[in-house]
Amino acid sequence: MSISQAVEAAGYGSRSEFRRGVASCAPVLLGTIPYALVLGAQAAQKGLSTLELSMMTGLNFAGGSEFAATALAPFLRDLPRRKAFPALFFLCDESWALGLADAKQRAAADITPVFSPRYYMGAALVMYLTWASFTTLGALLGPMLGHVETYGFDMAFPAVFLVLMRGMWKSVAAARPWLVSLVVAALVHLFIPGAWYVAAGAVSGPLAGWLMAGDA
């Protein structure tokens, strides 16, 4: 089903937009839930109390979405500030990715407004509640869980992200910055410990795109 069909099928009512956002999370949760459980269990082992962990995951619900917020800004332009600020609080990699992919598809199908706040809030709230509750659950159940990686659930993230990227695909030329990001992020990941690879990839790709656009 295409995006315009989906929007039409759901009707233009705000409640169904919310529901569309909630529904779009389902595949993503397959990866999020095991991951949240593991993170909760690990944090508990490191001596963080359950209260501290809940605060941590409840408030610092991000992990790289600082870079992502910038990319979402053009689509949020039509939104009044009092709505945009709370929306950004609930931002995370996954809800950002879903919200952005949806906005791009709507733009391509000439649906206005391009950014659907209720779709986004539906997706973001489900992600947020799942994340906060399952990390807490992980901390409580910690010792009973084994390594979730062995079952392959972590492959859900590359799967989700690759499908979202296919949705953003325009042309080989337009995707060249992606390749730069991939190579730079992979190299940084191999040679520099920590999570610097996300920043390195997120900065180098658009920078290369900027420079390449100058040649054309």
């Binding site: 779009s24 790289g64 795109g209």
Partner: protein
């Protein structure tokens, strides 16, 4: 107590950086070059986050990623995720 304060401070800083980009960009009119760069940015962030998977030392992981990649180019979200998770789980089990 110190941990709690740190966590709340971290939350504040994280949130500020998040709204920072939005506040700076919301009322700007961007050039064609800047627009093209901005449009490439989301994909750049996505691929950067999953970049470690592309340089995994485990052959089973790489093969599973290749299968997931092919699935992602043809199928929608849910089947791709299911194929990716199943491929990773099975290949790791049988390839060690």
């Amino acid at each position: 107590m110190a941990t709690l304060v740190t966590i709340v401070l971290m939350a504040g800083v994280t949130y500020l950086t998040r709204i920072g980009g939005y506040v700076m960009l919301r009322n700007r009119v961007l050039s064609a070059r800047a627009t093209a760069t901005m449009e490439a940015a989301p994909g750049c962030v996505l691929i950067s986050v999953i970049a470690p998977a592309f340089v995994s030392r485990n052959p089973a992981d790489l093969l599973a990623l290749a299968i997931t990649f092919i699935a992602a180019t043809r199928l929608s979200m849910l089947p791709t995720v299911l194929i990716g998770v199943a491929a990773a789980g099975l290949l790791r089990h049988f390839m060690g």
